[in-house]
Each structure stands twice: as C-alpha cells, then as structure tokens.
C-alpha cells in the first residue's frame, strides 16, 4: 500500500504527514500527530466523540480519510483555547459540571462551537437537535444544554 503525502493546516499550524490511503483523519490525528483530544467512541459516525471542523464544516473525523485533508483547514479541541484563556464554552462546561466522565466532552465542545457560529442565539430545542450527533451517557444532557445556553449569552455579550 502506497502512502499518501498530505499537507494541511491543523489549528492554524502547517502540518505535513504521510498516511495510508484507508487511514481515517481520526487515526492520523491520534496515532500520527499525537492529537488525542478527538476520541473514537464508535468509528462509524454515530457518537460524535471524534468531531472536528474541516473548512468550517462540522464532521466526524472517523468518516474522513486522512488523505482528504490535503489543503484543508482542520480545527480540533486542542486549538479551542487561546493560550491560557479557555473558550467560553469550555469555561461554561466546567462551571455547569456539564461533564462527568468527560470522554464525549471534546466532541460536544467542537459541535457546540460550530452550532453557535451558525446560530448565536439557539433555542433549547435548536441546541438539542444541533447536538443530537453527540452521544453522552453520563449527564442526561441537562447540564450540557444549560452550559451551551450560558456560553451563548456570554459570547453575545463579548
């Protein structure tokens, strides 16, 4: 199997890697680049734990080939905070205890960031449907929804 050489941008940094043609972007991020913030909960696009943003689109990185990232801009959880300044969503997830085990948290944060970028004032229903691609088994979603609502308020004020 011939490797594919890829030049891409991840969290603003130029990155080059060689990957196998059938290797997913999730595998590349985790196993080649050491970016283990995106998690594999299912590998089939059903849990959202591996969510990243590619060229402004929210996707499951398990459903993208590493080779497809050529020339794209990829955003992962590792790029969400600015220096030591947490993103308002990260801060609100902490304040509301919107995580218990925390395995789904990076995916939820990325999906919520995408949601608020497209809809800065979502209703509860819009948040619930907007985050329906991310499974959480610990919280019952209550505190996650509240954290996103609160973060939306803060971000509008900023």
């Amino acid at each position: 199997m011939a490797g594919v050489a890829v030049s891409t941008t991840i969290n603003g940094d130029a990155v080059e890697y060689l990957c196998q043609p059938d290797e997913t972007l999730l595998e590349v991020l985790r196993d080649r680049l050491g970016l283990t913030g995106a998690k594999e909960g299912c590998g089939t696009g059903d849990c959202g734990a591996c969510s990243v943003i590619v060229d402004g689109r929210l996707v499951c990185s398990c459903l993208v080939l590493g080779a497809e990232a050529e020339g794209r801009k990829v955003e992962t959880i590792e790029g969400m905070a600015h220096g030591d300044q947490l993103h308002p969503l990260q801060q609100k997830f902490l304040e509301h205890a919107a995580l218990q085990c925390g395995i789904c948290t990076p995916g939820f944060l990325i999906a919520a960031k995408d949601l608020l970028a497209k809809n800065p004032s979502p209703t509860e229903e819009e948040i619930r449907f907007g985050l329906a691609g991310n499974l959480c088994r610990c919280t019952g979603y209550d505190k996650i929804v509240r954290a996103v609502q609160d973060a939306a308020e803060v971000m509008k004020g900023a």
Binding site: R30, T36, F93, G102, L135, R137, G140, I144
Partner: protein, 754 residues
Amino acid sequence: MNFDPRFSGRQFASVGTRPIRPDGVDKVTGRARYGADFNMAGQLVGRILRSPHAHAVIKSIDTSKAEKLAGVKAVITAKDLPDLTDGDAAMYDILDNCMARKKALYDGHAVAAVAAIDARIARQALKLIEVEYEVLPHVTDVDEAAHHHAPLINDQVFTEGLEEKPAKPSNVTKRTQFGHGDVHAGFAKADFIVERSFKTEQTHQGYIEPHACVASVNPDGTADLWVCTQGHFVYRQHCAQLLGMEASKLRVTSSEIGGGFGGKTHVWAEPVALALSRKAGRPVKLVMTRDEVFRASGPTSATSIDVKIGASKDGTITAAEATLRYSCGPYAGSWAEIGAMTAFACYKLENVKTVGYEVLVNRPKTAAYRAPSAPMAAFAVESAVDELAHELGMDAVDFRIKNAAQEGTRASYGPVYGPIGIGPTLEAVKHHPHMKAPLKANQGRGMACGFWFNFGGQTCTDLNIGMDGSVSLAVGTVDVGGSRASLSLVAAEELGIDYSHVKAIVADTSSLGYNDMTDGSRGTFSSSMATISAARNAIKILRERAAQTWDIPVEDVHWEKGHAIAKGEKYGNLSPLSLKEIAAASGKTGGPIAGHSELVADGAGVSFATHICDVEVDPETGSTRVIRYTVVQDAGKAVHPTYVEGQYQGGAAQGIGWALNEEYIYGKDGRLQNAGFLDYRIPVCSDLPMIDTQILEIPNPNHPYGVRGVGETSIVPPLAAIANAVSNAVGVRMTHIPMSPPRILAALDAEREG
C-alpha cells in the same frame, strides 16, 4: 484503627458547595488521557478473533499462517492462558470468557488473538487463523433457555438451591428465595389481586469509551498495565491470578475512564493483552471496537418476571409474590438473586415471597449495570402496584405512602430497616408541582419508586501536606463522575483550608494499598470516609508539631478552621499557627506531614428514589416522547450537589433509554443484529427534556458527614415510571420493556380490536 464513622451533625464550610472539578481543565482541552490515549515506545497492536457462532465446539485452531505473516509478533489461543484459577469458579469463568477453551459460548466469544506492528497487519492476521467449529444448537431467550427441552449450555450445571440435587443438568444454575410471612394466607385476605407477567430485554451500559489498555510485560516478569477500569486494584488481582504473576510485580495505572456503569468491573481483554505482550516481548495496545464492546463485553440481564400483589379495600397490601428469571450469559451469576432481594424493598409487607432463577443463555457474560437487577424488578412490581392502586380507586402516590417501608419495617429481603428515605421521597413527590401540572391529549403521567443497597468496602487514602501548606490527596477509588472534586472538598472541610489548596489524584496500584473498585455507589461514600480519617491523622501530627513549637502538651492544642490553637488561659499570648505555618516549619519539627488511612467503609445505608414522568404517545405510530421528568432522591449529604444532580440525571436518562428503545436484538442464527450505536439506540440530546432534581438529605448515621451513595438508585424507577406514564396515556398496560413503537402500536391495535 480508631476511626469513628458516626454521623456528627456538624456545620459545613466546604462540603455542599459547588466548585470546579480538579480534572476539569484537562477534560475540556482534550488533554485528559483515557484508555486509548496512552502509547509506549515499540508498542504493537493487539486484536482478538471472535466466534461468529452462538454455540460451537472449538475442534481445532491453526495459527501457523498468521504466525508467518510479516509483521506479526505473537499469536495466542487459550493454550497461552492456561487455567491457574485453582478451583475458583468465578475466576475460571472470567478466564474462559477472556479466551474460550473448549467451546465458543456466544457470538463474539474470543477464540484467539494477535499482536502485530500495525492494525492492518493485525486484521489480516486474524483472517489467516483457521478455526474449525462444530456448531451446536443455541438458545438466547431467557424463558426458552429455562425450559427443560432447551439446548444445554453447560452439562455440568445442576440447579443449586433446590431441596434435592436434580438428576439432570439444566441451564438454570440457581434458585434463591427471600421473604417472610405466609403469602397464601395474605392473598386469602385480599379484596383485590393483580397478577401479571413482564419481560425486559437485555441492555448495555453504553459507555462511550470502548475498553482499552496498553500492557507491557518485561523479561523479568514485572509488568505495567495502563487501562480504563472502574477498579485497577481488582484488575491487578484478576490479571495477576490469570497470568500467574505476583500482584506486586504488576503495576496497574487507571486511565481516565470514559464511563463504566458496572461494565468495567472485571477484566475482558486485559489478560489477553498481557499474554500477547509476554509472548511478543513488546508492549501491546489493545482497544475494542464498538462492535466488540456490544458483542463481547458485559451487558445486563434479560428478564422474565411474574408478579402477584393483593390488597384489602382499605389499601393495605396483604401479600406480594414474584418469580424472577434473569439471564446470566453462559456463566453462572447472581443476578436474579439481587432482583429477588430488591423487588419489594420499598414496601412494608407482612407476607412476601420472591424466588429468583439464574438462567444460562448463549449471550455475552452478564456484568453489573448500575444498581444491577433492580430496575427490572422495580418495573414489574411498580407496574403491578400502580395497577392495584387503580383497581382500589386510590391515588398511586397515596397507595404507596400507605404501604411504604419505614424505620423498623422488616425489609422484603430480610433485615429490619434503620432510618430510610422512601417515605420522604414519596411525600416530596406528592407535594411537587410536577404532580399537579395539567396534561394534554395523548399525554400521561406516571411515577414509581426505586431501591438500591449501596456498599462501602476496602479503601485506602494518602494525604500529603507540602511545605507550602498545599495538600495532595491520593485515592485508590477510580473517579467516574467527579469524585476527585468531592474528596477535595472533604479534605478541605476536615483540615479547615480552602478547596483550592487541595489536589486529588487517583494513585496507581504500586503507590497505595488495596482499594475496592468504584461500584455499588461506593466511590464518594467510602473514599470520603477514608479521606476524613486520613485528614484526622494528619491533624494529629499538625497538633503535635504545634505543641512542639510552643513547647506545651499536645492535649492543649486544638484544631480549628485550619489552625492549631492553644487552649487555656495560660496560653493567651500564643497566636494560632496556620496549617501553612506548621507545614513550612515541618523540615525542622520532624519531617514531612502526612495522614494515611486504610479502612473498610461499611454501613453505606440503603437508598431510595421516587421519579415522576410525563410522556406523550402518538397513537398512530406508537412513538413516545418524554416531555417532563423529575427525580427525587435521598443523598444522605450531598458533598458536591452539582455532581449529585448529575448522577440523578444520568441514571434517569439511562433508564429512559432502557424503557423506550434500548435492547439487544438477536437473529435466529444467534448473532447480535444491532452491535452499534446506530441501532442500539441510547437517548440523544433531542430525545430528552431537562431532568429536574430534588435532593433530600437524610443523614446516613454511619458516615461522619451523613453521606450515602447516590450513583445507582436513579436508574431503578424510570422503567416503571415511564411504563406507568405510557399506560396512563394510552389506557393499555405495557408489560414488555423496551416499549418500542412497534410494541406500543401492537398493544394499541390489540386493544382497539378488543
């Protein structure tokens, strides 16, 4: 150890507040390391070959082709994991489950494993392993398996607990019985009797993180294991025993854990990873796929339950009886036993009898799932209780209040209760605004009660005070949902310092004494007890150091609000010494200051909850939406109330999924049809409403702060609460969980057709 665990009724400064958890930032930035996030230099990829058959004799396994594939470094079968269990039947079952010996007992049962330099080669190698099976008839349904004509899963099993040993083997491994009084006499006194049979399907804990570990065995026999687990000390014992190692030579580090709910309480693939590493001489990383998690980890039991309850006209229950059959997978378990114990635990009953049967089936080995076995029993009993209230013309809550257990009641499982919370949760529900909110067409309201035991167990904790006065707390209880925050609060409380100066970690198995796993809602209960004990031991040293500094007797030094205070008029000119000041001087007063604790935290105190639920059912499609949900539960004392609420909400959500859609679906071929998150339908965000909580605090007399376990009880009432709500919405009693749309529509159509 002279630790006094009795409740002292103190006022709290830190406990009961809601600070940010210490592991929080790591988790929102993606830095926290879970099972699959760890790597070692030179590590190989391990993969497991699994049986496609539900029941088959393994006639031969030829691994030679796989071994010859370039890049393959080890191939193992059961021969590489010989039986070292020395008559320990439970451990033998775990071993056989990790790697099948003579027979494959379910679709997904491990039969061989490989370690290779990458995942692609490992996958290819699995395809080169030739297994010759002799396929046997199988049985997956709990009722069919209990039938005497059913294919036998283990011909050495003769039902235990019968008066005489049976002549023939059977799939029923054990009969258990609980109760008191005379149910025949009780039913004779009843004016109304409800008798019904119920079924619940098998569900999975559904943790988002698949099982994952990295195992590294050295040539000298020492080893390291990095693993996501609810109990790394338990995993160390299991692995050491199964691989013939000394426990102290195996260091197990628990990663952050991405959910367990009972499913990570014993080993599944970890001994396989260690055996591969031992054979290959290199570290091996083994991560289950989601498909493997569903097919080959430990879901809960499927059940079949018959309930009969009678009451007199005044609303007093005169007798209650249940027969409970629980599937165990292909290995013996005690799941029906727990169901039989919990079934009627909420009620004050003169005459009660429960009988449990453990049933072997060709499904994965059953594991604990949050208050294991209790939700199914509660579903059957609470459905019948609701129906009986209806027949009596009594309000469902009032009927339960009239018959609720209280202090002094003999529990249906035997002992007499101390102070308990079932009555207060029912009173709170009776007066909750949710109960009075109006309902629209096709909507229905239901409520139900739930009970769980809670445990404590062996616990070990180290508390070290740094020279700067900050405190590090090392615990052996895995943090599954925020317990490091709670334990830091407890340490701060006891020492009288600010929460921000405490940092809690989960120590590895070589750094701390044995600690039971996080199960039975014991995490915060038992580790807070050990933390209080460790803090008190540290305070004793702090007082000694202050006494030494002041050159006065230690008896005259008291500890208050983080300071040593010299008590007595003669010490009027001595200003208090802060913890920080004592710590700074510690190098000159006798060295480091620490508190250690090892104890058995028994006396966890039983737990009760009552839930209210509103649903809307589409009568044309059978689709059900939960539109409002309220949890009322006793916490003893809520150490970090936000995380207590989180436990209540999470348990309710899991129960909602179980009630409506989650189930293992097997084909006629005995293969699991829905081994993925697409068709094993756990609730998504848009499926649920906000889940309201009300925390009651009825102190546990056996804990210094009054803490009870809170993690499990919340999953007990939802199945019944939702079944009652659906039944009230559509006027048909639902007796089969999950109440999936096809089941509801079929029930409605049957009713419409009369």
